[in-house]
């Protein structure tokens, strides 16, 4: 079974096969991403732009192709990220819940084994995450944070580059038939 593909769209529902992961992968990968997020920027500040929990949610939701699993994964990772921040619980939770749902929905329609498609999706979801978080801050917390679209685009681009490589590494953890 080959996981690489050159086409962007799936021709039938049959092609959108669910990718399976072992249970420890589903637990260890998000936990490692959270640990990376709180620990690595302590010594390498230039890596603070990376949102590893987001990239992991996007990857697992895309590959699982199950909106329900995407929703649960996004909400759990988001709430954990909220717990480790000064945010009220739910800010990252709601944002990542939506990301997980939409990523899983997109995974059913597109060929997410394509590298270019992965790059574009990672870029889109990173920018979406930033924008939606900004909306939530203003609407729910009344924080007057700046609308920095250029920063978000650069942030999305950098995360997409790292995400494309990360997705390739995470492919090694898939359960092959």
């Amino acid at each position: 079974m080959s996981y690489s593909g050159s086409r962007m769209l799936l021709s039938s529902q049959r092609e959108s096969q669910v990718t399976k992961f072992r249970v420890w992968v589903m637990l260890a990968v998000p936990l490692t991403a959270l640990l990376f997020q709180v620990y690595v920027p302590l010594f390498f500040r230039f890596l603070a732009f990376l949102d590893m929990p987001l990239l992991v949610v996007v990857y697992l939701a895309l590959m699982r192709r199950s909106p329900v699993a995407g929703v649960l994964l996004g909400s759990i990772v988001g709430l954990a990220q909220d717990s480790l921040s000064k945010n009220p619980l739910g800010m990252f939770g709601i944002t990542k819940t939506l990301v997980g749902y939409f990523a899983a929905s997109v995974g059913m329609k597109l060929n997410v084994d394509n590298v270019l498609m992965r790059f574009l999706l990672a870029f889109f979801f990173c920018v979406f995450h930033q924008a939606f978080y900004w909306v939530m801050e203003r609407a729910l917390l009344r924080h007057l944070s700046q609308f920095e679209i250029q920063t978000w685009l650069v942030y999305g681009l950098l995360n997409a580059v790292v995400g494309a490589a990360l997705f390739h590494l995470l492919d090694k953890l898939r359960v092959t038939a």
Binding site: L35, L42, V71, K86, P88, F92, L98, H143
Partner: protein, 385 residues
Amino acid sequence: MESFLNRYRNITILLLVIFAQLVLLAFQVKNDQDVRFIRVWTVTAVSPLARIVEGLRGSGIGFVRNYIQLHDADAQNRKLQAEVDRLRIENIFLKNELNTAERAKALQIFQQHTPSKTLAASVISTGLGTSRKVIYVDRGTVAGVMRGMAVVTPDGILGKVEAAYPTASEVLLVTDPEFAAGVMTADALVHGTLHGQGSPVCKVDYIGLEDKLAPGDQLYTSGDDRIFPRGFPVGAVKSVSPGQPFKDVTVEPSGPARGLEDVLIILEGVHQEIPTAPTSTEPVYVAPAPPGNATGTPATPGPGAPAAPPGTEADRLRSVYKAVGDEQQHTFGEGLPGSKPPDFTKIPVSGAPPGFKGTGAPAAAPSAPSAQKGTGPPAGGPLRQ
């Protein structure tokens, strides 16, 4: 109905999960309360892993340094660094005591003054969030840490404990927008409130337009906030500009200046007096005293006066006060507050500090150069303020 739910199962679950989180969020925002148990679970799950990773990192670095490159030089270096940090704090403490002696309040301060009890901690992770400035340290409630305790470094204040968990604590940094602390100038004439801004520079609110404050002035904790004991360095004023209705003042905090790796948590704070001299380490040149100036030539004591000991002028000043106390059979550091202090009006003429006008000192005694005011070094040498 069943087919309807099956058809819209995904969107239904999505809406339910988002609705639940919105309710959670609304509860926190409206009641200004935190859902603590979720945070406890997450921190308890992550902090052991962080400690393991930090331990592996420290062990790896320590192995390379100790056994391959520098053998035991690193351990010695760390020991000396800790010694230097301890001496710096002790130095500030001693400066405070010497300065307060000049204002005849030394006895009371000596009796009441004890250093703060602190707990060393290592930073194990940074907090998440866009503009939030928090860190996690590896000491928690098991080690006696409580919410609201002050966190400092030898250079100044760093933040306060925002939440204490069993094995770790969350520290709100001085640069966080929600951080606030009472500050004042060295002469205690100007008081204000320090606020973080989410950037490396903090601002000070409530500085009146008539208050005298200039860039470079050192600020210290005032103790009014009941978190930081008075007398800890805060930082130097970076800019001062007129505003309405108060001055716009920015400060560069000195606490995080040397990075965030090791901190001190103040378990029992003790207020200290503010040093009158800034803690800058820049040497200052002091010109030699003019010939015949009695205060600048301590080598010619008057008859009957105790011989001036070697060392700085502060050492001589201290010995003068000590001699007066010994003469009156007073033991410094003992006695309850309010007990009778020694009579400092009986200081010998030649031993009196510069500018002292006690009953034994002639009115014609020349005063010291105003810039040093009795605490400066021997004339002609560099001074570290």
